[in-house]
């Protein structure tokens, strides 16, 4: 066995291969010390060396589930790379599962924090994630299908669903798409999302990423499918609807009216962040008569010192705020607040006093930036962030009426999207609406 393995791992000096001998039996052993943990000592070395008893050792080989026969030489490199130890005793090969896991406890939520809900989040370890999910969704019908994707990374993937509730056509489609996944290094859920979505789903996410086990559990109970990836602390959920992206877990934990209020507020915020900069252009440059006269005068007065058309003003301010947001993600935490203060407060104030932008525009920019972060899901928030530029473009040409038309087109686009065959934006009542295609008669 050792000769064969040495041939395969020619230059890998970190592979440990040795023939041990305790006086009774010689044993060939091979493993990567970096990928295995201390269990190898208790599981193999101690029973083999000073506590050795041939009968007991044989019994252990047969009864301990961590030992498995590994007779097929083609599987050896794979097993070694996954953190198994290979041993050969009396002409029989066994594998011993001893892979090192760095994670022993759940993470803290970072992106989807909640005030009073559970604070634990998924980790980068698949086994622990499966445990977190099983603990919250504790039924025998929870099914787990293992996959392995990525020709170089060979990342383990779990497809998790409740087989009683799941929509079989969705599952079928997911399997088909997973078969087509062609990727070298699969390291994050984002890559898998790109592989699983259609080419023309360019603007809005049709798969939901979540780091919260409680959210995934709720989704599973609604018959959705979760995809867990080894090495990523996010689960993928599908099929999803637009409303799922606007839903924070706190909505389930707060009292009824509070959560309704929060949800309505969130939709208003989304409307504002999409439409407000465009509406500013439309109202200032095209139709100031929409507003009542006092308000129109106030806005125009605040723009008195600004020497260029409103859309340039909007672009200046939006560029500043986007740069600020981007910078505050990349900056080290200790400098982050300084950048925000300088960028947001001082620059904004100075730009207004210098007559480069109007004070109303400063308000618009702040509202846009704040409203954008009300959205509970990061991917969706990015999509909305991009969406406002379309509205600005149309507003430059058509003014307010263009915004209304584009908003209609946006709704049609969202209704047109499908997340794994299910409608993306629709008020509809469950799977019963999925009408069979029996209307296809001879015509």
């Amino acid at each position: 066995m050792l000769e064969q393995i040495k041939q395969l791992f020619d230059e890998s000096t970190d592979l440990f291969t040795e023939t041990l001998d305790n006086g009774y039996w010689p044993m060939e052993i091979a493993y990567f010390p970096a990928m295995c943990d201390e269990r190898i000592k208790d599981g193999i070395l101690i029973p083999y060396s000073y506590r050795f008893d041939p009968d007991e050792f044989r019994r252990m080989l047969h009864s301990n589930p961590k030992y498995e026969r590994a007779d097929n030489p083609d599987e050896w490199p794979n097993l070694l790379l996954k953190g198994y130890a290979l041993i050969k005793l009396e002409e029989t090969c066994y594998s011993f599962k001893s892979d090192r896991t760095l994670y022993t406890q759940p993470d803290e939520t970072q992106l989807e924090s909640s005030l009073q809900g559970p604070q634990s989040a998924f980790t980068e370890d698949l086994e622990l994630n499966a445990y977190l999910l099983r603990k919250r969704y504790n039924v025998p019908t929870l099914s787990v299908e293992p996959y392995e994707k990525g020709s170089l990374s060979r990342t383990a993937i779990f497809v998790v669903y409740d087989r009683k509730l799941v929509n079989p056509s969705v599952l079928e489609l997911l399997r088909k798409r997973l078969d087509k996944v062609n990727i070298e290094l699969l390291q994050s859920t984002g890559q898998l999302i790109k592989e699983l979505t259609d080419k023309n789903h360019l603007f809005f996410p049709t798969l939901l990423q979540s780091e919260r086990p409680d959210k995934v559990a709720v989704m599973l109970s609604r018959g959705k499918v979760a995809v867990l990836i080894n090495g990523s602390r996010f689960a993928l959920l599908l099929p999803v609807r637009l409303f799922d992206f606007m839903h924070a877990m706190d909505d389930d934990y707060e009292s009824f009216w509070i959560s309704r209020f929060l949800i309505v507020m969130r939709y208003v915020a989304v409307l504002l962040t999409i439409v407000l900069p465009a509406a500013y252009i439309g109202i200032v440059s095209y139709n100031p008569e929409i507003f009542r006269i006092q308000l129109a005068f106030t806005i125009d007065g605040s723009r008195a010192g600004v020497p260029y058309p409103s859309f340039i003003e909007v672009f200046i301010m939006l560029f500043m705020i986007e740069a600020l947001i981007e910078a505050s993600i990349r900056l080290p935490k200790s400098v982050g607040s300084a950048a925000t203060t300088v960028g947001g407060l001082i620059l904004g104030q100075a730009a207004q006093q210098a007559g480069l932008v109007s004070s109303i525009m400063i308000i618009v920019t702040s509202v846009v930036a704040i409203s954008n972060y009300v959205i509970p899901n990061h991917t969706f928030s990015q999509a909305i962030r991009l969406m406002k530029y379309w509205f600005i473009l149309i507003s430059m040409i058509y003014g307010v009426s263009g915004i209304a038309v584009l908003f209609f087109a946006l709704i049609v686009y969202l209704c047109h999207l499908r997340s794994f065959g299910e409608p993306y934006l629709a008020f509809y009542g469950g799977q019963n609406d999925q009408k069979p295609q029996s209307a296809q008669r001879k015509s």
Binding site: D198, N200, Y286, N287, E289, I290, F291, R292, I293, L295, I397, Y398, G399, V400, S401, G402, A404, V405, L406, F408, A409, I411, V412, Y413, L414, C415, H416, R418, P423, L425, A426, F427, Y428, D433, K435, Q437, S438, A439, Q440, R441, K442, S443
Partner: protein, 381 residues
Amino acid sequence: MVRYFYYHVIYVGLINIMLFVPYTLIQNRFHGAVPAIVISIFLGTALAYVTISLYLKFPEMGLPEILNTYLPRTLALTLILLTTVLWFSGGMLVIYSYSRTIQQFFNPDMNPYLFSSLMIAAAIWGGTRCTRTVQFAQEIVLFACAPLILALIMKAIFSKWLSWDAIRITAGYVKTMPSFLSLAAAMFVFAGFNTLAVFNRLVPADTKIRFRWIIPVFCTLIMLISFFVPIGFHGTVGVGQYVYIWSITADSMIMEYGFIQRVLYVFLLLFTALTLMFAMNTWHSAAEFLKSCHPKHRPKTEQYPVPASNWWINASFGGLTLLYAFWADDSRNEWTSHIWLYARFSADLLAVVVFSLILLLKLRPKQQNKQTVPKSASSDS
């Protein structure tokens, strides 16, 4: 699923303003509009009830499937093509009227074709979608519009400038001879049930369309408001002077609180949505009709991504609308709208006749069926 049907009823009822229905009725307010409204309430309700029941007899089939299955090919093709023209031109007229309204009341400095092309682009975008998408989008847009509709109606009814006296005087002309044009115009408000021609494909078999009282109640309400409120605001005589009567009427109302003072802008915003909904629906239906003329076509309600034929058909609809916009002016548009209203009313009646005949023949044994089909064909055409 039944709720989707009533969305069609409501927004088709509301779009009457863009098809010169209130203008036509008001022009005839002393010569037969009021009795025409009364007749249309009964006739429209009856027609809606009968047509719905007839469509439900052909579960999950749209108009083209019904005609293609039970009628000889040439006759079916003629009827389908006529329906296509009718539906497409409905969307075309509404887009033109709305673009004119926007040009007069909102963007007077803008090149009129620039805005028309935006509306056409949006309508093409909507019309190319698959039937289910259209249905979902209609629900969402109508929900988004509901507060605006309510605000507008409330403002109109409870305005202190509304002269109930003028309304009462006009209503007194109920004993005049009803004119056919007024009747055709008034019947349009009830025309929402016709959308079953395509959307019946989405109504599952043995569904019962319940709550049919919604049709008479809502449509009557819409009709009374769209006819009487302008009269209440402008007086029995003054009201006859305006073409874009409802834009003027909306501009007669004021909102005391909030950012916006003139109700006109609420009205225009609302009708952007309604116009595009109507155009999306009519062009989508027309495209579906046209596609079903192809002998190998199989109707699908869920298509993702949309086929290229949808794009070609809708783009040519858009091109025709642009041509119409070059040709038309206010008086020509009014003339075309009148013809369209006549044609639509006759098509409603014809549809009932054809469907009843098909149903009669279908119930008979097969042997007889073959003999009688040519006979009914000659009597129809």
